[in-house]
Structures are given as structure tokens and as C-alpha cells.
């Protein structure tokens, strides 16, 4: 029996202590000098061909016999009592098979005290009723025939308005989540400000960002008797299974959730969606499979967002650049239902400072609910913090990069007993990035615009994030009689390359070719448990479990090889398709031959993720350097170069890691320059629920992104020596761009996105703009 121990795990900034087993099969650390054939090599996606040829089946590709199509009727009002839903006309429409609402279904609890179809709508887009019909057009037509009697209520969409006593209340206890701010303090900021030579205050604002997953949210639900199978576009098949079983009051083993391929989640697909339950209810009522995919407009409206922030920052600094105090007071737009909002973590962790205080309000407003959005909190907070660090360094006449080095933290100060970072090479990232962008000669860049009307500038920003992963995560490795291998794990590949990395780890440990490994993920019935794919934790959580499972399977196979080679199993090793005697490598047997000897004696290796190390804080670091050109006449900002230096321990696959960095920077460029949800203040109706007016960047908009990967192994984090990279590249990019804009034009834009109107207004008045 494996021994149970307690270990600390972190997910999206939340730290918890859990019970975990210590694996009894030891897999020693793959250190810097480990000779690896597959892991750490630039391996193209194992399923890339399927994705680009259309062979890959996404949720919206699932087509079942007699399948119906579901659509949701959503509230037209930001705050209203749903007094009645009359669906008689809709039900008469030929092809309509079911209409459900709060008035003909049992209530299902949702968001605490709310319900699936709540009789109070709290945002434009809240679920009011749903239809199943023979095709999507009929379902859409039916929605128009449903008559809803609303009693409209006063509403508030602006978070600062919502904090006022006079504001309409969304919930009985008021609009401030929890009734009070979340406060953190170490040392004493008043003491810190007193010690400072200079105290500087600034206010920064960030907009509401939408996840804009290329694949919208949606599910296909199919009942066989009392057993439900659901295909879902999700980052967490087990979360969905357990929550769905609870919502429908059926056992978990009556629910199977499958996710094969998906087109992005970015944090918005970490939980059970209402659409999934609605699809299941419609399927049960009609006794037919139901596919319910959200439209782009619905997806943008009500599947989550990165909440808007207001950040008042106050910093105390000595003339030599020593930070004496950092204080943040922030307001964060939580949306209508509890979603999680706050941006203080970078302020607490990034720089060495004895006196830090963060006071954060999350506020209910009648808009879409905030959800984790690729590095939640950190992206917003890093824009404020890193803009502020630039301001402070300029005020004291210190180079911004030198200033950051001066306040370098080596322990996690936010912990009660600060632990050292398991691997922090940020200083090396600073050097590498500065060299690549030619930081020390950036004055040359500033004066090199093509015309006098275009000014150039260079800016940088740093990043801290978790990404160490942890238990629980499980994997099975099966060796077939022909020597081919199946790996099963209940994790999911969001399009990030998880499947490829797992294939690499299994093939490496088994000592066989990548082509001989098939990986199956995202199925609650066939795969053992793994956690949700978020927090940049997947590779570092699941990878070690896969490796242990592979080691277990290999040991079992060695017993057959040992008989053949007439040695003891523990004398054997395997590499490049051969099992050989460690002391006499010439004495060997092909891996596939050993598998044939085992025949149908099933080899199933089992692995699980062991505990995280005591005594270290597992974090990832990065530094971005951007060069921009600002057209002083039109206010247009063009990113000319973007250098992104990152260290997450061993890169499992430099190709997928580079993709993550590029994708993160591209998303961030939209955040920095063009993306912004707009809500009509008078009606509460969102105005830009499309990609025309909500403006993500396209391939044509981005310059060559220049990633720098430090490959040094993190010797403490896990047996693979590597951590996550999904979120880190999103964190400093917008701040680096904003700092470059300030460098170029000499005026700081304190509010994202940096659109031409803001630049022109700033140039005209040099008074900062303050409109959200």
C-alpha cells in the first residue's frame, strides 16, 4: 500500500493542502544531463494531421441518429423578474419537440442561491427557456414564438456605480461580493511610506476581455435508458461529470463525459455549463439525442470574461530604487453571479518589498459573469504593477530594468513562511531578452521612426505565475501483444499539445518510438481521473503520472524479457525499441518481441502523481520586451517586435512551448490594443458580441514573435523537471506594450486597450483619459 502524505497544490493562484499517495515505483529526476531521445525535442503534434484535415471530431461534429438541435432563449433585460413563459405558439411550430423553462421543469440549483432557469434574470443573456427541434433554424424560429412576461427591475452595469449605496442591488446582501473587500497585508505600508524618499500614486484601468474561444461552448447529450453520455467542449471532463450527475440527481457512473478535440477554453470551460444540463433535460424529455452549441453572440455574452479592473496604486521608494511599500486598492467587476475577481497577486509576489497591502473589491453588476481567463488576475494586475514600476523607475531616474533587478525577490513573500522559489532564473531572462531587443541602445530605436510623425519606443515587463501542478492525476499504460501502447488519462488536450507531450513522456520512459504510442484522453468512462486543464498545471500534473505508469508497465514487460535473456528483470533497461542488459547492452531483445512473449497476458501499468516538494514555492517566470511604433497623427500603435523570454524548467516540447508563447502574445496584443466588451449603458445590452466590433488580432496584425526558452531543469518540481507554460506568456505582454507606448510618446496611457482615440486624446491634452 502506498503511503499517504499531505502536500500543497496550487491552481490559478489558489493554494490548498490535500492527501496524496507516494508512488512505490521510483522514477528518478530527468536532470539536466539526462540523455533523452524524445522529451525536450521539437516534436510536431501527434494529432496535427487530424486537426488540419478536418478528420478530428469536435463536439459540434458529433452527429447522432435522430438528433435534435437545442437553442436557448435568453433574457432581453439586464434585470427582470420572469413572470411567465408562454410557449404554446412555439410548441405548435412543426418540428419543435420540446420547450422547457422554469415553469415546466424542477428547479436545479445554480450559482449558490440561483437556479438553472432563474425567475430573476440578472443580465442580458440569462437563460429563460430552451427549445429542441429537428433543425437549428426551426429551433431559432421557435425562440421567437415564446412569449415571456418580464417585470423589469432597476439595473447597474458599471462597477463603480454598483458600489454606491443608491445602486440597484443584485443580491440581498448588496453588490460587494462578501460584503467587504479582500485584504492582505504584510509589514506596514504606512511605515513603508514613511521610510520612502518618494511616494507615487497612479490609477490604472483595464477593460472587460472576452475569451472568444474559436470553438463556442456546447454539448451533445444522449440518453440510453438511465445512462447519459455527453460530448462537451470542456477543460474538465470529471468536473462536468460530477456536477452534471449532481444536477440531475443521478449517480456519477450513469454519466459519461467525452471530450476529444476542442478549440480553446482559456478558463471559460472549467465547469459544468447550463447549456449541458439543458441539452440533457431536452434529450430526456424528447427521448432523442440533442446537440446544443452556443452561437458566437451567446458565447461572447454569457460564458465568462476577464473582469474589468480599477487599480489605485501607491508605491514608496528610496532614491537608490529600494521599494519600501506597495499598496493596491482595486475594484473588480465580478458580473451578476459569483465568478472570482481580483488582481492583487502580482503586487504581493513579484518584487521584494517588506510592506505590502492589497485591498480588493469584487462587485456584482448586471453583466456576464467573470470566469478564469488565461492567467486570471495576473494579466490585469501585471498591467497595473508593471506600468507603475515603469513610472517609479522614471521618477527616480533609474533604468526600468535595473530597477526591477534591484527589487528581485528570491522567496515567495506572500506565503506565511516564505519558501524559496524552486527555480527562478528571471535574472537570466532579463539579460537574454534585453540583449535580443538591444535594450541598452533603445534610444536609437526611439529616434528611428520612418517619419517625424512616427515615434518608436521599447518597453518591458516581468511575470510570475504558478504552474507547478500536483496531484491527484492518474494514468494507465497498456502494452498490447504487438508492442504497441495505449496511454489513458482523464485529462484533456485543449489544443495546447497535451496529447503530444504525454506521448513523448510515455515513449521516452518505455524506450520505444513515438509512433508506437496512442494516447486517449478526455473520457470519464475509460480514463482514470485527472484534474481540470487550467492553471498551466496539466503537463506537470499528468506528465509524472504517465511516466510512472509507463515505468510500471515496463517493469512488468521486463519479467518476460528477463526469462528470454536469462537475467533478472531489475538488470534490464530499454531504449530505442530494445530491451537490454544494463551491464551488457549487446545482450538485448526487441521491445515488440518481449510484448509477443507476454501475449495476451495483459500488461497494465498504473501511475499517479506524487506529492509536491516541501520547502519550495513552485513558480514560473518570464520577461517580455516590446518595440512599438506610434503614429502621432492617427494614434495607431504598431508592435514591431515582441521578445518573450520564459523559463518553466525543462520545456517538454519546444515546438508546443513556442506555440503557447506565440498564442499568448497574440491574445495579449488584442488585450493591449483593440479588444473590449462594450455595453450600452441605457439598456444594459452588449453591443459587440461578434468579431467585427470585439476585435481580436489576426495573423496579419502580429509581428514576428521572438521567444527565448531557457531550458534548465527545475530539479525540485517533479520527476520530469518541467512546469507549465500555458498562462505565463499572457501575463507581461500587454504591460510591455503599454510601457513601450509610454516610452515612444512620453505620455502614459493608463487604461487598456490603447486605441487610437485614447492616444490622440492623450497627445492632445496630455491629461490621462479615465473612461472605461
Amino acid at each position: 500500500m502506498p503511503k499517504k502524505v499531505k502536500t500543497t497544490v496550487e491552481f490559478e493562484g489558489r493554494v490548498s493542502e490535500i492527501l496524496v499517495d507516494i508512488p512505490d515505483i521510483e522514477t528518478p529526476l530527468w536532470g539536466n544531463d539526462a540523455e533523452l531521445d524524445i522529451v525536450g525535442h521539437p516534436i510536431p503534434r501527434v494529432d496535427g494531421d487530424k486537426r488540419v484535415t478536418g478528420a478530428a471530431k469536435y463536439t459540434s461534429d458529433i452527429l447522432l441518429p435522430h438528433m435534435l438541435y437545442g437553442r436557448i432563449l435568453r433574457s432581453a433585460h439586464p434585470h427582470a423578474v420572469v413572470k411567465s413563459v408562454n410557449s404554446s405558439e412555439a410548441e405548435k411550430l412543426p418540428g419543435v419537440k420540446a420547450v422547457i423553462s422554469a415553469f415546466n421543469t424542477d428547479p436545479i440549483r445554480w450559482h449558490g442561491s440561483s437556479s438553472l432557469f432563474d425567475k430573476t434574470a440578472r443580465l442580458v443573456g440569462d437563460e429563460v427557456a430552451a427549445v429542441a427541434a429537428v433543425d437549428e433554424e426551426t429551433a431559432a424560429d421557435a425562440l421567437e414564438l415564446i412569449k415571456v412576461d418580464y417585470e423589469t427591475l432597476p439595473f447597474v452595469t458599471d462597477m463603480e456605480e454598483a458600489m454606491k449605496d443608491t445602486a440597484p442591488k443584485l443580491w440581498p446582501n448588496g453588490n460587494v461580493v462578501g460584503g467587504k473587500p479582500s485584504i492582505y497585508e504584510r509589514g506596514s505600508v504606512s511605515k513603508g511610506f514613511a521610510e520612502a524618499d518618494l511616494v507615487i500614486e497612479e490609477t490604472f484601468r483595464t477593460q472587460t476581455e472576452l475569451h472568444t474561444c474559436l470553438e463556442t461552448h456546447g454539448s451533445v447529450a444522449f440518453w440510453e435508458g438511465d445512462k447519459l453520455t455527453v460530448w462537451d467542449s470542456t477543460q474538465a471532463v470529471f468536473n462536468v461529470r460530477d456536477a452534471l450527475a449532481a444536477a440531475l440527481n443521478i449517480p456519477s457512473n450513469h454519466v459519461r463525459v467525452i471530450k476529444q478535440y476542442m478549440g480553446g477554453g482559456f478558463g471559460s470551460k472549467l465547469e459544468l455549463g447550463k447549456y449541458t444540463v439543458i441539452a440533457a433535460l431536452l434529450a430526456r424529455r424528447t427521448n432523442r439525442p440533442v446537440r446544443l452549441m452556443l452561437t458566437r453572440e451567446e458565447d461572447q455574452m454569457n460564458t465568462g470574461n476577464r473582469p474589468a479592473t480599477l487599480q489605485h496604486v501607491k508605491v514608496g521608494v528610496k532614491k537608490d530604487g529600494t521599494l519600501t511599500a506597495i499598496e493596491l486598492k482595486s475594484v473588480n467587476a465580478n458580473g451578476a453571479y459569483l465568478g472570482g475577481a481580483g488582481c492583487g497577486a502580482p503586487y504581493r509576489e513579484m518584487y521584494l518589498c517588506a510592506n505590502v497591502r492589497t485591498e480588493e473589491y469584487a462587485v456584482y453588476v448586471n453583466t456576464g459573469r467573470s470566469r478564469p481567463a488565461r492567467a486570471p488576475g495576473h494579466v490585469q494586475g501585471t498591467f497595473g504593477l508593471e506600468s507603475m514600476m515603469d513610472v517609479v523607475s522614471r521618477k527616480i531616474g533609474m533604468d526600468p530594468l535595473e530597477f526591477r533587478k534591484k527589487n528581485y525577490a528570491t522567496v515567495n513573500q506572500a506565503q506565511t513562511n516564505p519558501k524559496p522559489y524552486s527555480a527562478k532564473l528571471l535574472d537570466q531572462l532579463y539579460e537574454a531578452g534585453a540583449k535580443k531587443i538591444d535594450w541598452w541602445n533603445r534610444d536609437k530605436s526611439r529616434n528611428s521612426g520612418d517619419f517625424h510623425s512616427r515615434k518608436r519606443g521599447v518597453g518591458m515587463a516581468s511575470q510570475i505565475w504558478g504552474g507547478g501542478g500536483g496531484p491527484p492525476a492518474y494514468a494507465l499504460v497498456k502494452i498490447n501483444r504487438d508492442g504497441s501502447v495505449n496511454v489513458l488519462s482523464g485529462t484533456q488536450d485543449l489544443g495546447t499539445g497535451t496529447k503530444t507531450i504525454i506521448s513523448q513522456i510515455a515513449a521516452e520512459e518505455l524506450g520505444i518510438a513515438l509512433a508506437d504510442v496512442a494516447v486517449d484522453l478526455g473520457d470519464t468512462e475509460t480514463c482514470p481521473f485527472s484534474g481540470s486543464s487550467g492553471g498551466s498545471t496539466t503537463a506537470a500534473s499528468v506528465g509524472p503520472a504517465v511516466r510512472t505508469a509507463a515505468a510500471d508497465a515496463r517493469l512488468q514487460l521486463f519479467e518476460y524479457a528477463a526469462l528470454e535473456l536469462k537475467v533478472k528483470p531489475e538488470e534490464l533497461s530499454s531504449r530505442r525499441g530494445k530491451i537490454f542488459v544494463k551491464s551488457d547492452p549487446q545482450k538485448s531483445l526487441p521491445f515488440k518481441e518481449a510484448a509477443r512473449k507476454a501475449g495476451n497476458n495483459m500488461i497494465i501499468g498504473k501511475g499517479f502523481r506524487g506529492p509536491n516538494p516541501d520547502g519550495y514555492s513552485l513558480n514560473t517566470f518570464g520577461a517580455h520586451f516590446a518595440e512599438v511604433e506610434v503614429d502621432m497623427e492617427t494614434g495607431r500603435v504598431t508592435v514591431l517586435r515582441h521578445v518573450a523570454a520564459h523559463h518553466s524548467g525543462r520545456p517538454f516540447n519546444p515546438l508546443t512551448m513556442t506555440s503557447q508563447i506565440e498564442g499568448g502574445v497574440i491574445q495579449s496584443m488584442g488585450y493591449a490594443l483593440s479588444e473590449q466588451r462594450v455595453i450600452d449603458p441605457a439598456s444594459g445590452i452588449p453591443l459587440n458580441m461578434n468579431m467585427e466590433n470585439y476585435k481580436p488580432m489576426t495573423a496579419l496584425d502580429v509581428p514576428t514573435i521572438e521567444p527565448i526558452l531557457l531550458t534548465q531543469v527545475d530539479e525540485h518540481c517533479n520527476t520530469l523537471g518541467g512546469k507549465g507554460i500555458g498562462e505565463p506568456p499572457r501575463i507581461p505582454a500587454a504591460a510591455a506594450i503599454a510601457n513601450a507606448v509610454a516610452d515612444a510618446i512620453g505620455i502614459r496611457i493608463r487604461e487598456l486597450p490603447i486605441t487610437p482615440d485614447k492616444v490622440l486624446a492623450a497627445l492632445k491634452s496630455s491629461v490621462p483619459s479615465h473612461k472605461v
Binding site: A76, D141, E633, G635, A682, I685, L687, L700, D701, L760
Partner: protein
């Protein structure tokens, strides 16, 4: 999207017949890049959709002594690549190059580009606005960052077409076919502001379609330039644009046509700017005066004041290109 009857006539006469018997409840579809979105968003709910793609004619660029004729069904990318157009009307080529994205230009047509409806998010959203026969313009007290600074009157849409802005500067004319026959009007007169008709952006009657654009041969010494500002560089409608066509004689601007896009309900011809240019030597001072004159009557709203400076700068930019 409401169900509709779909027609794919083989002859123009059948198109006109279908339109004239539909009582205003028909829409035409050429490239479909605008109308399909309007149908899906419920902005238009016609009984009949008349496809023009099946018509054999109307896809051409033809040169004659007096100018060039472009069939209304010619795609924007065809026009952009046409050697005659490239030689004689660089202004139009510049405008097309920054219109939408290449994929859309492969599909969108000349006629469709000119007749597309405004992008105003209130018009396209669930708002009963003036342009839809409702009681008010929601942009006035609402989100009006993208709205008009010139020519607004009760309604503050901006005309979205880059090619229309360029073509008015080129003094193009439009051929219209209807049940009463054929007529040709200067393109400038084709568009109508909200003070004339708040429900539509041009003079087309329910039974009429645009069939051809004619651009007269530019006089000797003619030079044109087009500048456009976008929030997203790869593809986006104009925050503002400025099309300029001048006839230069010995460094003096003999004739000038200045048209602004993205700032008014119609492609906005700035007579004020033209007056500042005519008979003047095109130098930085003249340019500054003309650009200032173009926005002198601008009436910005709460969020679009930036368009005043932006328009002035874009016009300066276009004029400077001509000067060089």
C-alpha cells in the same frame, strides 16, 4: 433568421419584376457579405431574397474613350487587380486594398460595397432606432465612438464603404435599372443623408438596383490618394478616411475633390476643403488650411471627438501624398 423565398433569376428583367411585385419586402444578394449578416441578425426580414449571382452580365471592367465602366457584380478583388484600374485610378486601388480582408474582397461586389448598410451597432442590434422606423437614435446618449461627426441629423450612422468614398472623389456615376427603365446619376447624388431619408442611405427605390459604375477618364495632371484609419490593422471599417483627387497644373491645384469616409452618414464631400485647395499651390500651409476647413463644421458627440483630429490628419496625409 426568418424564412424567405429565394429567387435566382437568369435575366435582369426578372430581377426587376420580382422586386417591383414584392412591395418592398424583397432584398437582393450579390456577394452576400453584408445581406447574410443582416438576415442572420434579424436586421432585415424580407419575404423574398433575389440572388444576382446567376445573372450573366454585370461582371466587367470596360475601358472606353470617356472612361471606365465597372459592372455592379464585379468583385472588389477583380477591380483591385485590373490593369486598367491600376493604371488610371490608383486612388480606387488604394481604397480597395484597405477594404475588409482579402477573403471578403474575393466575394464582395462593387454594387454591394456601395449599397451595404451601415454598421451602427444600434441599427444592427435589438434597438428600435430611427433608421428602423423607431423613435430615436440610441447613439446620441449611448456608445458613439464610431459615429458621425459630420452630416448627422437625428441619426448619426456613418457610411461604411471605402470604395464609395473613393468613387465619389473620382466623380463616378451610377447606372440604375428599375421598372421604369434606366437612369444614370452622379454617385454623389446617389447617397442621401438622414435629413432626406432617415430609413435608407441612397435613392434606390424598391424596384431598382445599381447595375454599373462609370468613372470618367481623369484629366491630365490628375493625382489621387486615399488614407484610412482602423482600430484593427488587418481588417476593419474606417474610423475615418480621406479620399482626394486633384488636377495639378504647374504645382497649382486646378481642380480638387475631397471626400471623407467613416465620419458622416454618406461619403462626405468637403466643399470647404476643396475651396481652400482650388487655384492654390499645394504646399504644407494650403494643406493645413484645407484639412482644418474640412472639419470646421464637425459636431462631435461624447465619445468621437478624436475623429475631428483624425480626419484632419488623414486629409493632410492624402494631400501630402499628392504634393510629393
Amino acid at each position: 433568421m426568418r424564412a424567405f423565398e429565394y429567387f435566382a433569376p437568369q435575366q435582369l428583367a426578372d430581377v426587376i419584376h420580382t422586386l417591383s411585385t414584392a412591395g418592398g419586402n424583397a432584398r437582393v444578394c450579390a456577394g452576400g457579405t453584408d445581406i447574410l449578416g443582416r438576415l442572420k441578425d434579424g436586421v432585415d426580414t424580407p419575404d423574398k431574397l433575389v440572388c444576382l449571382k446567376t445573372l450573366p452580365e454585370m461582371r466587367y471592367v470596360r475601358e472606353s474613350n470617356d472612361g471606365v465602366r465597372i459592372g455592379a457584380l464585379t468583385t472588389l478583388s477583380t477591380i483591385e487587380e485590373d490593369p486598367i484600374i491600376r493604371k488610371s485610378f490608383p486612388l480606387l486601388v488604394e481604397a480597395l486594398y484597405v477594404t475588409a480582408a482579402p477573403q471578403i474582397r474575393n466575394q464582395a461586389t462593387m454594387g454591394g460595397s456601395i449599397c451595404q448598410r451601415p454598421r451602427c451597432w444600434y441599427l444592427r442590434g435589438p434597438f428600435d432606432c430611427l433608421r428602423k422606423g423607431g423613435a430615436k437614435c440610441f447613439a446620441v446618449d449611448g456608445e458613439n465612438k464610431y459615429h458621425a461627426i459630420l452630416g448627422g441629423h437625428l441619426c448619426y450612422i456613418v457610411h461604411p464603404s471605402d470604395s464609395a468614398t473613393a468613387l465619389v472623389a473620382l466623380n463616378a456615376s451610377a447606372k440604375i435599372q428599375g421598372s421604369k427603365g434606366e437612369k444614370t446619376v452622379p454617385l454623389e447624388k446617389f447617397f442621401v443623408g438622414p435629413e432626406v431619408n432617415i430609413l435608407k442611405e441612397n435613392i434606390l427605390e424598391d424596384d431598382e438596383i445599381l447595375t454599373e459604375i462609370f468613372i470618367p477618364t481623369p484629366s491630365a495632371g490628375a493625382r489621387g490618394a486615399f488614407s484610412k484609419s482602423r482600430e484593427r490593422q488587418s481588417y476593419d471599417f474606417a474610423l475615418a478616411s480621406a479620399a482626394v483627387q486633384c488636377t495639378m497644373k504647374n504645382g497649382v491645384c486646378a481642380e480638387a475633390r475631397v471626400v471623407l469616409g467613416g465620419v458622416a452618414p454618406i461619403p462626405w464631400r468637403s466643399i470647404e476643403a476643396e475651396e481652400e485647395l482650388k487655384g492654390k499651390k499645394l504646399d504644407p500651409k494650403t494643406i493645413e488650411r484645407a484639412a482644418a476647413a474640412a472639419v470646421r463644421k464637425a459636431k462631435p458627440m461624447t465619445q468621437n471627438i478624436y475623429k475631428v483630429d483624425l480626419t484632419r490628419q488623414l486629409l493632410s496625409k492624402s494631400l501630402s501624398q499628392i504634393m510629393v
